[in-house]
Point group: C2
Chain length 198, copies 2
Amino acid sequence: MKVTVEVVLMISLGSNTFAPITPVWVVGTYDHDGKPNVMTAAWAGICCSKPPCVYVSLRKATYTYGNLMERRAFTISFPSEAYVKEADYFGLASGRDSDKFSTTGLTAMRSDLVDAPYVKEFPVVLECKVIKIVEIGLHTEFIGEILDVKADPTVLDKNKMPDLERVKPLVCSLENMSYRKVGEHIGKAFSIGKDVGK
Amino acid sequence: MKVTVEVVLMISLGSNTFAPITPVWVVGTYDHDGKPNVMTAAWAGICCSKPPCVYVSLRKATYTYGNLMERRAFTISFPSEAYVKEADYFGLASGRDSDKFSTTGLTAMRSDLVDAPYVKEFPVVLECKVIKIVEIGLHTEFIGEILDVKADPTVLDKNKMPDLERVKPLVCSLENMSYRKVGEHIGKAFSIGKDVGK
C-alpha cells in the first residue's frame, strides 16, 4: 500500500515586521519655531471608533517626534497618486535640515482645530490632538483623537463621503519597495461573505 | 481692476474615523475551551520595529477580545484575493455562536511559538504574544510582539521575501464598502522622491 502525504511547510522568516501593504500617510506638525513639517509614515492606522482615534508610530530620532512631544497635535494628509514623488520625498528628507513645503512647492495650511498644519493639495485630511503616548521599544506610538475629517469637495460622492476613485490613495509594499495604486473591486464588504457555509 | 481669488474650501465631515484604505487582516485566537477562532480586523498595523510589533484594536464585545485577555497570544493571517469571501465572513460571524473554520473548510494550524492558531491556506502569517494592552475608548488596542513571520514557500521571491504578485493581498475601502486588489506599480519607494526640489 502506498500512502501519499501532502506536506506544505510554512517557512520561518524570523522575528521581523511584515505587512503585505502599508499606508502612505503624511503626518503634519509644527516645530518649536512654528515651521510646518511633514513626514511620511507607514506605521499608522485607525485604532478606536469612540472617540475616533488614529495612531502613528515614530522613532525618537525623527524630527516629528520632537514636534509631537511639544505640540501634542498633528494632522494626517492622504496623498493621492499624483503626489507619489512628494510623498516619497517626505519620508526621505528630515525637517531638521529642510523645509519640505518650500522644496516641493506644496502649501502648508494651518488647521483651525489643532496646532498643526496639513497639506492643502491632498484630498482628505485628519486633524488630531494627542491623547496617549505609548512607549513600545524603538518606536513610540502617538494616539490622536480625530477632531475633524476634512475633504476637498471634488472627491466626495453623492453621500458626501470620500470616493475611492477620486481620492486615488497610494499604498506601499515595503518588502517590494513599491508604491501601488489601489486596484479593482473584487467584492462588496460586509456582504460577499454572507452566504459562506449556507 | 479685476481680482480673481481662487478659494478651495475643504469641507468638514465631522469627528469620525476615516482611512482611504484599511487592512483586511485575520486575527487567530483560541477560546477558553481551545476552539480556534478567527476574526477579520481593519484596525490593525505594524507599530514598532524593535521589538517587531503589530497591533489590533477590538471592541470588548468581540469574542476575540475575551480570548486575547485570557490567552495573551494571537496570530495574523493575511488572506489572498482568492479568499475574499471567507475573509468577509470572518468579519461578519462571531466565534461565540459559530465555528468559522468548519464553516469555511479552512484549516486551523496550531502555532509552534504562541498559544494561537493560524489559517493554513493563507500565504503569510505573524505569530504574536501580547506585550501591551492599551485602553483607548470603545476599542482596546492589543500590541503583540511578532515572534516569527511564516510564509508559504511558493510566495517568496529570490531573496526569500514575500512577493506582492504572489501574496495577492486584499485591501478594503470601508466608506465605499469595497474589497480591492492591490493595483499597478507607480514608483519605487525610498527612491522616486530623491530628486524632488533638485
